[in-house]
């Protein structure tokens, strides 16, 4: 589990870095560009963060979903509030969708029997978890890089 905590710290720091860079350049976006940036960044960040948080928290299902929904709403409202009210709406919607998907992926990784995936061994379960979390972190880094690359151009 220590590796997944490390990946979570990397993801949170990448999200904070993205927020900081967007906050510094927020005057130069027009409205369509702001909507695109908000929906893309929010959906990527909440998908990956929800997946990691669900894997790490070992509580009941409804408590995990409550924590994840609060996290998604907070991230969406935070990224949307860089711009106008339309972007807050888009950010909230995309954050809630992304966090629900991420929570489902995390639940399946914790307990593959609910999807009838034939993995029973504990070490194989842990290996599966590490592989998919690492892959999601890689994709997230690519998405954040593309979002930040689009600011300069």
């Amino acid at each position: 589990m220590l590796g997944i905590i490390g990946l979570l710290i990397w993801n949170v720091s990448a999200a904070c870095f993205c927020y900081y860079r967007l906050h510094r350049r927020k005057r130069q976006f027009d409205s369509r560009y702001a909507a695109t940036i908000t929906s893309t960044a929010t959906m990527g960040i909440t998908l990956v963060l929800g997946m990691h948080v669900t894997v790490l928290v070992s509580a009941g299902l409804s408590l995990v979903f409550l924590v994840n929904l609060l996290l998604g709403a907070a991230v969406g409202a935070l990224f949307g509030s860089l711009f106008k009210y339309r972007e807050i709406l888009a950010g909230l919607y995309n954050g809630l969708v992304g966090v629900l998907m991420g929570a489902m992926i995390g639940e399946v990784l914790k307990n593959p029997q609910i999807c009838s995936i034939p993995i029973a061994d504990h070490t194989q379960l842990l290996l599966n978890m590490y592989q998919l979390c690492g892959f999601a972190t890689l994709l997230f880094t690519v998405v954040i890089g593309l979002v930040l690359y689009s600011i300069k151009g």
Binding site: R32, T36, S39, T40, L47, A136, L139
Partner: protein, 139 residues
């Protein structure tokens, strides 16, 4: 022949999407940016969805590898369709393909009647393609 039926369906679907790419590429000067954004969203999601579902129905023991392959395929397809228009359409298609590709193997693993679901999915894919043809022709 029966053993590889899902892979053959997937192959025909991907060939259909490649033909559709050529069609959209020929008419990309006529398509406005909002329609381009929606085209990249819908087709990136469809490519990721069909890849994930048909691969997990064919090989049910390789969940991790299939999730990675479906996410990469969806991202690549969304980015290719979006790159015909502009950078924002590329970002939208990329994130939708990634989400659909990560979700689709999970959906395929819980299915109990795969043939019925395959028929319904193909009907919806053809419906979406018909709507897309109408939208491109109207614009």
């Amino acid at each position: 022949m029966r053993d590889l039926s899902f892979v053959l369906i997937l192959y025909s679907n991907l060939a259909l999407f490649a033909l559709l790419y050529v069609y959209v590429r020929r008419r990309r000067k006529l398509i406005s940016i909002h329609l381009g954004m929606n085209i990249s969203m819908a087709l990136g999601g469809l490519v990721g969805l069909s890849t994930g579902i048909f691969l997990i129905l064919q090989y049910p023991f390789h969940f991790t590898a299939i999730t990675m392959a479906a996410a990469l395929t969806g991202m690549g397809a969304g980015a290719l369709f979006g790159a015909l228009f502009d950078y924002q359409a590329m970002l939208t298609g990329l994130i939708n393909g990634m989400m659909m590709g990560l979700m689709a193997p999970m959906l395929g693993a819980i299915l109990t009647d795969p043939y019925f679901f395959t028929v319904i999915l193909e009907v919806f894919i053809f419906l979406i393609i018909a709507v897309l043809f109408a939208a491109v022709k109207r614009s």
